[in-house]
């Protein structure tokens, strides 16, 4: 009997938590996402444009962190500056949190077709195992085996390959300041960047 009550309670808690989580998407965030964000990031954050990153299914912690960085002008890669400084400028902490929850709950867009399978395989090897000879750690150790991310560490799976390449280059040149990623990307060659992008965008 105790066991039954315990598992029933557990089930209830899970159901409640699950339901509560989904119910946390605020209508205001939906409206903002539809009226503003979707113009560049696509409906539900699932754009196919090479110009803008996909947000659908992105880690809430990461979105919250980046929107605050845009708002404080702490992230300086050129497109961040040109577009997101202005967009995020007037946002409040509450709005940022709500948008992060909204996008985290959107179904991730399917990965993009791979034109160069050899390149993607190279990218997979680098992502899962790193490159000791050049001091590049395995990306999967932080970003997850499936590149799904975790809290403030972004999901990379299915992201636009143009965007991934641009950001890796921005980390490497320190145009985008992040202690961890600037170090990690320092030794990446152009070919390695292309390979990583090809692999990750296909997931």
């Amino acid at each position: 009997m105790k066991k039954l009550i315990l598992s029933a309670t557990a089930a209830l808690v899970v159901a409640f938590a699950g339901g509560a989580f989904a119910a946390d998407i605020s209508p205001a965030a939906v409206k903002t996402a539809d009226n503003v964000c979707s113009k560049c990031h696509g409906a539900g954050g699932a754009t196919t444009s090479p110009l803008f990153p996909r947000l659908a299914g992105q880690q809430a912690g990461y979105i919250e962190q980046e929107l605050k960085l845009f708002r404080e002008r702490g992230r300086g890669d050129p497109h961040a500056q040109a577009y997101m400084w202005g967009i995020a400028g007037p946002m409040s902490d509450q709005q940022i949190k709500e948008l992060a929850v909204y996008f985290a709950n959107q179904p991730p867009a399917p990965g993009q077709a791979v034109s160069d399978k050899a390149l993607a395989a190279k990218g997979e090897a680098l992502f899962q195992n790193g490159d000791d000879s050049h001091g590049i750690p395995a990306c999967a150790s932080c970003h997850g085996k499936m590149a799904e991310g975790n809290d403030a560490i972004p999901r990379l799976a299915g992201q636009s390959s143009d965007y991934l390449m641009g950001q890796l280059e921005a980390f490497r040149s320190k145009l985008r300041e992040n202690d961890t990623m600037d170090t990690n990307a320092q030794s990446l060659s152009n070919d390695q960047i292309k390979a990583l992008a090809a692999y990750l965008s296909s997931l």
Partner: protein, 462 residues
């Protein structure tokens, strides 16, 4: 005899000079309870820096084209809003109206005396105008899905103040955001266009020219319909399934706004008496395909118009002339982190069928004439601060029966932009030949090569 002429001043009063740098509208994001900081700068309405929408004004980036396509409605600023019973927005009024001012000023040197249209007076070869042009814009969101770019301009050369290139636009999306569709109401042919290979939005050297220019440059019919000379209503579609490629289609019907009531009352006497005006309605069409990849973008397309028109809008002996204008246009842009390079051009072919008995009565044997105008421009900018461009114009054919239109001239320009919204320019216009006159008098008492003009200019908006 009907001459189609284009005063370089006249076209610029609306056409080429109006800044695509409409500040507007970056619409307010949401009805946020916190009031947004008022940002007293160029980007007050949008919150977006100029480089989001422009390479260097008036040229647009792909994002800028999307912004215009969607009726200037993207916003990050608060608005007074309301909803109806079905929860759709019934009002969205920006807290701060998206207004701005544009000023052009110049000083120029030319060996020719040039004529202003103010009172037919003759300006000195050297001329200074401050302002050459002063414009006020309302440019931004009116409500969800509806926006406008409205411009009124004072132009010193003609002494006039009136409506300039303006558009009210409606846009919405369908089919999972792959299709954008909408309507446009505007007062200039290609006002609603998204590319700088069009007529109104031609960028590059010569987009701003001297306040007093040379008259006598021949022009096709469609080039004359800028800045309030014709009113058009129509619709557009933009289809993009993959974010890399898009197809844009547009069609409109234009009526002449230079006159009304059977041509007996003139809104713009001077223009209507010298230029053919549309009788009835003239259909306009536009198709453009764009491909974006990496830092590069390429567009190729066509636009054109068919019109029946006569001087003063009054058919002579019941006959108008027919103008069939067809153009091919293309644009290429490389938008890098530091270097921006662009090429744009259009080739207009015009066939004019002369039905006007008055002209035929003067025993010209031809009953139709053809004219072509090729405009090519190339620009380079470094860090959106230093740059220059060259524009090449070549016109051939006949503007009217017996009147060869052969004209060729280049415009060279160096630009310095101390701020993103301010351009200082040094410009030289070089005429090779005008109306088939290589050197010497062109029939109106001026020497062609002496029309070469050097100009220093200021172009700013805030």
């Amino acid at each position: 005899m009907l001459h189609r002429i284009r005063s370089l001043t006249g076209v610029r009063s609306g056409g080429l000079a109006t800044a695509g740098m409409v500040l507007a509208a970056a619409a307010a994001l949401f009805a946020a309870p916190e009031s947004a900081q008022a940002v007293p700068s160029y980007a007050r309405q949008t919150g977006l820096a100029c480089e989001a929408c422009h390479t260097v004004f008036p040229e647009l980036t792909p994002f800028g084209r999307q912004f215009k396509l969607n009726a200037y409605t993207l916003t990050t600023k608060p608005a007074v809003t309301d909803e109806d019973q079905s929860k759709s927005t019934s009002l969205s009024l920006a807290d701060m109206p998206p207004l701005s001012v544009m000023i052009q000023a110049d000083t120029s040197w030319s060996n020719n005396n040039r004529t202003t249209s103010k009172n037919g007076s003759t300006a000195q070869g050297n001329d200074t105008q401050f302002p050459q042009q002063l414009s006020l814009f309302y440019a931004g969101k009116i409500s969800d899905h509806l926006g406008a770019q409205m411009q009124v301009t004072f132009q010193q050369a003609s002494g006039t103040f009136g409506i300039d290139n303006s558009e009210i636009r409606f846009a919405d999306q369908g089919l999972d955001n792959k299709l954008t569709y909408g309507l446009t109401l505007n007062d200039a042919v290609t006002m609603s266009d998204l590319w700088n290979s069009s007529l109104i939005w031609a960028a590059g050297a010569g987009a701003m020219g001297p306040g007093v220019g040379d008259t006598g440059i021949p022009a096709t019919f469609i080039e004359g319909l800028g800045a309030g000379k014709a009113t058009g209503a129509g619709g557009f579609l933009n289809w993009s399934s993959n974010g890399h490629d898009s197809l844009y289609l547009e069609t409109e019907l234009y009526r002449s706004s230079a006159f009304n009531n059977n041509g007996t009352t003139y809104v713009d006497n001077a223009w209507a008496s010298a230029n053919p005006t549309i009788n009835g309605v003239a259909p306009y069409w536009r198709a453009a395909f764009e491909h974006d990849w990496g830092h590069q973008t390429f567009e190729i397309g066509t636009f054109g118009m068919y019109a029946r028109a006569s001087a003063n809008g009054v058919a002579v002996n019941g006959e108008d002339n027919d103008y069939f204008d067809n153009a091919l246009d293309a644009q290429y842009q490389y938008i890098g982190e530091h270097n921006i390079f662009s090429l744009a051009g259009n080739l207009i072919h015009e066939n004019q069928t002369i039905n006007n008995n008055l002209v035929l009565a003067n025993s010209y044997s031809k009953s139709s004439v053809d004219m072509n105008h090729l405009r090519l421009t190339g620009s380079y900018f470094y860090d959106r601060k230093y740059g220059g461009s060259v524009t090449f114009n070549h016109i051939n054919g006949d503007s009217v029966v017996g009147s060869p239109a052969n004209t060729q001239y280049e415009v060279f320009e160096l630009d310095y932009m101390p701020w993103l919204n301010t351009k200082l320019l040094a410009q030289y216009t070089l005429y090779n030949w005008v109306n088939a006159q290589n050197y010497g008098y062109n029939g109106v008492g001026t020497q062609v090569n002496d029309g070469n003009t050097f100009m220093l200019g200021l172009w700013t908006a805030f």
